[in-house]
């Protein structure tokens, strides 16, 4: 594997520092080897946790409970609003309580295979092992999981899996877990063990002697910049799917904290691995601000189809059975409508691209509950999906009990993110990453309901072991002074950045550039990619970036709430990350999971991996953004022990 493309230089071989030996017992052996800090010494160590989603709130609350001096930062007015709140479907756990033959090893197989063998097997084991504790903990702190009539926990099935291991609370699983986690954090704040900064965004990472020692934060109310110092920093700042402008993410979710850490030296792994969720609602107006997500759990009972004849203009209910193409059931009989997300998204795009799309813009496919309602009754369907049906009616004005829903793929979860080793430590010592902000577990595609699990496991049950392991030999080490040149330089850089953006004085608001960028990315680095499309996208992104620095207009002052200035900072970071995403997609000459290069496909048209060359994580360093950027490609080879490399086949 040699880097050969323009601007790409070979880097180092990365060591994930996994424990040697069998992977099914690796986590226990790792924990046995980790150093710990004695209870009385813990308060001498400061840790900053940025982000208050499931991973961030979990890490901050748990480290504080253990006795560390914790500072928690969020740009929200209150931690509970973090985007974990929006996940609907559920949280997986390999508790194997049922007799459907689930087990830890089956969870690992589903996860590694679902991720198309581009994630770490060792971490899938940790995820499975801690999943039982996560459910217990979240239940205990107030998440009202769905129950069977007898009182035990209920589960349901999710895409890519043939057992029922998804725990849920109606269609609000993320909300209930997030509120519980935020409450856990609130308890620590009131007890004085966590210092909470709300309405503050992280604008830079402070690094001294190669180690993370603090962050620069900016008040979103006054614009004041401030350094916060710590012995270790945990970034739990979520994913960057919003880079596509229209995505299923909350409007404020962004890449800035991760990208600023990257600009200070943290490698960015697999940035092009973006999951397109198959059950988003289609775009219906120019000013629609995002794609609304419907829970994947709908695919448990809903059947996906399009008219066989592209010219068929009849209303859905007038199209008889023989004129419908239930294409997922036809192509993948074993998994049917429950194929993994990448497969379902790609299949929908094929139908839409070949003219079989439905709706006024012919940009969607049907998700039909007719048969399920006939089989189970409207009451049962309402009990299972009522709030989702209500939401759909809200958004579209159509009644899914009587006409099929219309769905389309939308940019959703980012499997890529900051590279971290088995301890969740990035390539900058002292900088840890948790949840979606990091690269881990998911490989090239995330299985449904593994996201809430990974965020909870990272926050509550991984960071509390690995951060102390890092801190243990630093007893007596003073915090870096805020007078230190490393700090003053970071502060000056931050001031200069906002001054520079404000000084451009052009005519176009930041949202305009973001909208253009989103269109370029959907076309060039979307559900399917080609070499030509990626090259074109890179050229267009560079042109948008040049325009941005020439013609950006920011209304309003720097010293009070200025949402345009906030937005401009986000877009500036997206414009760099977007190019790296395309370079990453261009470099990886194979198809795997969510990364589908049309040049690399099997005879039946499915994604075709090249394990001999690309069974590896690519983690990037970048440089020279002021001119022509340079890309340094580091590699971490992957090997599989418990789950042998096989072709993913959902037929």
């Amino acid at each position: 594997m040699t880097a050969k493309k323009a601007g790409v230089r070979p880097g180092t071989v990365l060591d994930p520092a996994e424990p040697d030996g069998p992977r099914d017992t690796a986590w226990q052996r790792a924990k046995d080897g980790y150093r710990i800090v004695s209870p009385l010494n813990r308060r001498k160590f400061s840790v900053i946790v940025v982000g208050t989603g499931l991973a961030g709130a979990g890490a901050a609350a748990t480290l504080a409970e253990l006795g560390y001096d914790v500072t928690s930062v969020t740009y929200h007015d209150t931690p509970r609003r973090a985007h974990s709140v929006a996940a609907q479907g559920g949280i997986n756990a390999a508790r194997a309580k049922k007799v459907d033959n689930d087990s830890i090893s089956r969870f690992v197989t589903d996860t590694v295979k679902g991720g198309d063998f581009r994630g770490r097997e060792s971490e899938a084991f940790r995820l499975a092992e801690e999943s039982a504790r996560v459910i217990d903990h979240m239940n205990a702190i107030g998440a009202p999981f769905a129950r069977e009539y007898g009182g035990s926990l209920n589960t349901r099935s999710f895409g890519g899996v043939q057992v029922s291991r998804t725990y849920y609370t109606r269609g609000q699983t993320g909300q209930q877990l997030q509120v519980a986690a935020a409450s856990d954090l609130a308890r620590q704040v009131r007890a004085g063990r966590v210092k909470q900064y709300v309405r503050h965004e992280m604008v830079d990472l402070i690094v001294k002697d190669g180690r993370a020692c603090g962050v620069v934060v900016r008040s979103l109310l006054t614009g004041e910049l401030k350094p916060l110092m710590a012995h270790a920093v945990v970034l739990a700042t979520g994913g960057y799917g919003n880079i596509y402008f229209r995505s299923t993410l909350a409007k404020n979710s962004n890449a800035s904290a991760s990208w600023r850490a990257h600009r200070r030296g943290a490698h960015m792994a697999m940035p092009s691995f973006i999951q397109f969720h198959p059950t988003a609602l289609p775009i219906s107006s120019e000013w629609q601000s995002k794609t609304i997500l419907m829970s994947e759990s709908l695919r448990n009972d809903g059947r996906i189809w399009v008219p066989k004849d592209p010219a068929d203009a009849r209303p859905a209910n007038d199209i008889p059975e023989e004129d419908r193409d239930y294409y997922l059931e036809r192509k993948y009989p074993a998994f049917g409508n429950l194929t993994p997300r990448d497969v379902a998204s790609r299949a929908a795009k094929e139908q839409i691209d070949s003219g079989h799309g439905v709706g006024p813009l012919k940009n969607s496919v049907y998700l039909d509950f007719r048969d399920a309602i006939a089989r189970l009754g409207k009451k049962e369907i309402a009990a299972r999906y009522g709030n989702l049906f209500h939401m759909y009616t809200d958004a579209t004005g159509e009644d899914p009990y009587t006409v099929p829903m219309r769905i389309a793929p939308g940019a959703h979860f980012t499997m890529g993110g900051l590279w971290a080793d088995y301890q969740l430590q990035t390539s900058i010592p002292g900088l840890f990453v948790a949840g979606e902000a990091g690269f881990s577990y998911h490989g090239a595609n995330r299985l449904g309901a593994n996201s809430l699990l990974s965020a909870c496991v990272d926050g509550f049950f991984t960071i509390p072991y690995t951060v102390p392991n890092y801190l243990a030999d630093k007893l007596g080490q003073e915090l870096v002074s805020t007078d230190d040149p490393a700090v003053t330089q970071a502060m000056e850089d931050s001031y200069a950045r906002f001054d520079r953006l404000l000084a451009i004085g052009g005519t176009r608001p930041p949202r305009d550039f973001h909208r253009d960028l989103g269109e370029v990315l959907y076309a060039g680095c979307g559900v399917a990619r080609t070499k030509k499309g990626l090259m074109e996208a890179i050229a267009k992104i560079r042109a948008i970036r040049a325009d941005f620095y020439r013609d950006l207009h920011i209304a309003g002052p720097v010293d009070r709430v200025n949402q345009e200035l906030e937005y401009a900072g986000r877009v500036e970071d997206y414009l760099e990350l977007a190019e790296l995403m395309c370079v990453d997609a261009l470099e990886r000459e194979e198809s795997c999971g969510a990364h589908f290069r049309e040049e690399y496909r099997s005879e039946t048209g499915e994604a075709k991996r090249d394990d001999s060359t690309w069974a590896a994580i690519l983690a990037w360093g970048t440089d020279s953004w002021e001119g022509t950027p340079a890309f340094i490609r580091h590699v971490e080879p992957l090997n599989f022990d418990a789950v042998p490399l096989v072709v993913r086949d959902y037929r």
Binding site: T78, R80, S183, A186, A250, Q288, S289
Partner: protein, 249 residues
């Protein structure tokens, strides 16, 4: 479609506010009122003005960040629906829409339509939590919560924390929010073990920051999560229970 928007402008928390009128064109009935603000702000920015500050995030009705008063009603004209799901189809083409911040003494204006709702967080910090440290929880299946108990807990747990209940209340009371939280946690076995002290702490905090409840019922009408009005009765129920029993569980 076209709408005339009368929108509240207030540059600073202490500065005077005023209504400003904008004519916004090129709208679709399927757009949300937040997307109306997006479009209006785009026009304002292009004309060299300062866009209107407002809060929103998930735009899926679940984060609770958005909250504005539309034509006198928190969130907008459609009952029990968050602003991000309020569609322009509610308004006649060419009509005038008035948009203001949430109005309550406990919600100071930060700028334009953005208000400070930290009082709700303070109620949660006072007692809306459970004293279980990570790793010490019992096996979840050993809690025998029946299906219907779990469902009832969920009905109350659905609160998204937007605070519209306070903005709708003539007294500025947060009792719908508070009651929903107390009911949710009282119905689950492990959290219920602290229900007495939780009620005492949370009710005291809510009384301090927000007003008392005199059962106007406006709160439940605007609640986007459909929290039932009976939630407010849980405030007195839990407070009295603590007073009479004098213990936690």
């Amino acid at each position: 479609m076209r709408l005339t928007v009368r929108v509240w402008r207030q540059a600073t928390p202490t500065g005077a506010g005023r209504f400003e009128t904008h004519s916004v064109e090129g709208l679709e009935p399927s757009m949300s009122v937040l997307e109306l603000l997006d479009k209006m702000n785009h026009d304002i920015a292009l004309e060299g003005g300062e866009p209107v500050v407002f809060e929103s995030d998930c735009r899926e009705g679940i984060c609770g960040a958005c909250g504005i008063v539309v034509n006198g009603r928190p969130h907008g004209p459609i009952k029990r629906t968050p602003a991000c799901h309020q569609r322009l189809s509610s308004f006649a083409d060419g009509s005038t829409v008035t948009i203001e911040p949430f109005r309550s003494g406990a919600y100071p204006v930060i700028g334009d339509l953005m208000v400070e709702r930290a009082g709700l967080t303070e109620i949660m910090q006072a007692g809306g939590h459970v004293q279980v440290a990570a790793g010490t929880a019992p096996e979840a299946d050993q809690d025998r919560i029946t299906y219907s108990e779990a469902e009832e807990a969920l009905d109350f747990a659905a609160c998204i924390g937007c605070g519209a209940c306070v903005a709708a209340c003539p007294n500025g009371s947060a009792n719908l929010f508070l009651g929903a939280k107390l009911a949710h946690l009282a119905k689950l076995p492990i959290p219920a073990a602290e229900r007495g002290s939780r009620a005492a702490a949370m009710v005291e905090e809510a009384d301090r920051i927000f007003g008392p409840c005199s059962l106007h019922g406006e709160c439940a009408e605007v609640c986007p999560a459909g929290i039932p009005l009976v939630a407010v009765s849980w405030v007195n129920r839990e407070r009295l229970r603590r007073g009479v029993l004098g213990r936690d569980s």
